[in-house]
């Protein structure tokens, strides 16, 4: 197994770092850990991180993934940055409402909406 096969796709658009998942299923803790480390490096690389995570193509999401998102959120806040989530399909969105995490995260319908929302 290659040591550092990326599990995310990263795109720069202006001051915003856009992250997309390569896996349809964000379930396994090992994977989630690796994804978290990749995003942490993106956050570290920015003075004031503006991170947009798109959930396009994501079909399954575990509670471990939610935990990782909270960790990411804390890291972004720690650097006075901003985190946005977008492209969450209704099934996945329900996971955010059941857990009330829709109160914690800034969630936008589309990537464009999310990009426009950064201060």
């Amino acid at each position: 197994m290659p040591a550092s096969e990326s599990r995310i796709r990263v795109k720069r658009s202006g001051q915003v770092t856009q992250v997309e998942f390569l896996d349809r299923n964000i379930l396994d803790e090992g994977n989630i850990q690796l994804i978290g480390e990749e995003i942490a490096r993106l956050i570290e690389a920015e003075p004031t991180p503006r991170i947009l995570i798109s959930f396009a193509n994501v079909e399954h999401l575990s509670s471990a993934a939610l935990g990782q998102l909270i960790t990411i959120n804390n890291k972004v806040r720690g650097k006075s940055g901003q985190l946005r989530l977008a492209d969450i399909d209704p099934q996945i969105y329900e996971v955010f409402t059941i857990t009330r995490l829709n109160k914690i995260f800034q969630i936008h319908q589309t990537t464009a909406d999310a990009v426009a929302s950064f201060a």
């Binding site: 379930l27 396994d28 994977n31 079909e59 999401l61 575990s62 935990g67 059941i98 857990t99």
Partner: protein, 144 residues
Amino acid sequence: MLMTNAQPGHEAHDFDLLNDPEQVERIEVLLSDSASRNGFAKGSIFALRLSLHEAIANAFNHGHEGLPTDLTVHVRLEIAPDQIIMEVTDQGPGFDPNSVPDPTLEENLERGSGRGLLLINAYMTRAEYNAKGNALRMVYAKPE
């Protein structure tokens, strides 16, 4: 014999599972396929797969915490056209599910964990532990 009343489409699957993501995924895919063949909708399959995933993760992470890593978790799936039963049994000491904090309370909302049982309870028709607290039985009835 396993199923007392033979009924078309009924099936049951038992696994002695090691903590191996590939094996877990295989069982989740088997569940999804079987549910789909039995006419369960996409949303139901989402709920079932997520709940099974959370239960298995709990069995290994909490049930077997500090125990030998080669301990197996027993997973049983019973699939029928009208309902699906999933049982996940670990070899740990068990726990008291009533002692688990509510992750939706304001003060717990930013905790990094503690949402698995909430999701299982939200999505399943019924979810019950045995008295010892090491076996979780989840029942999902097909919506009318």
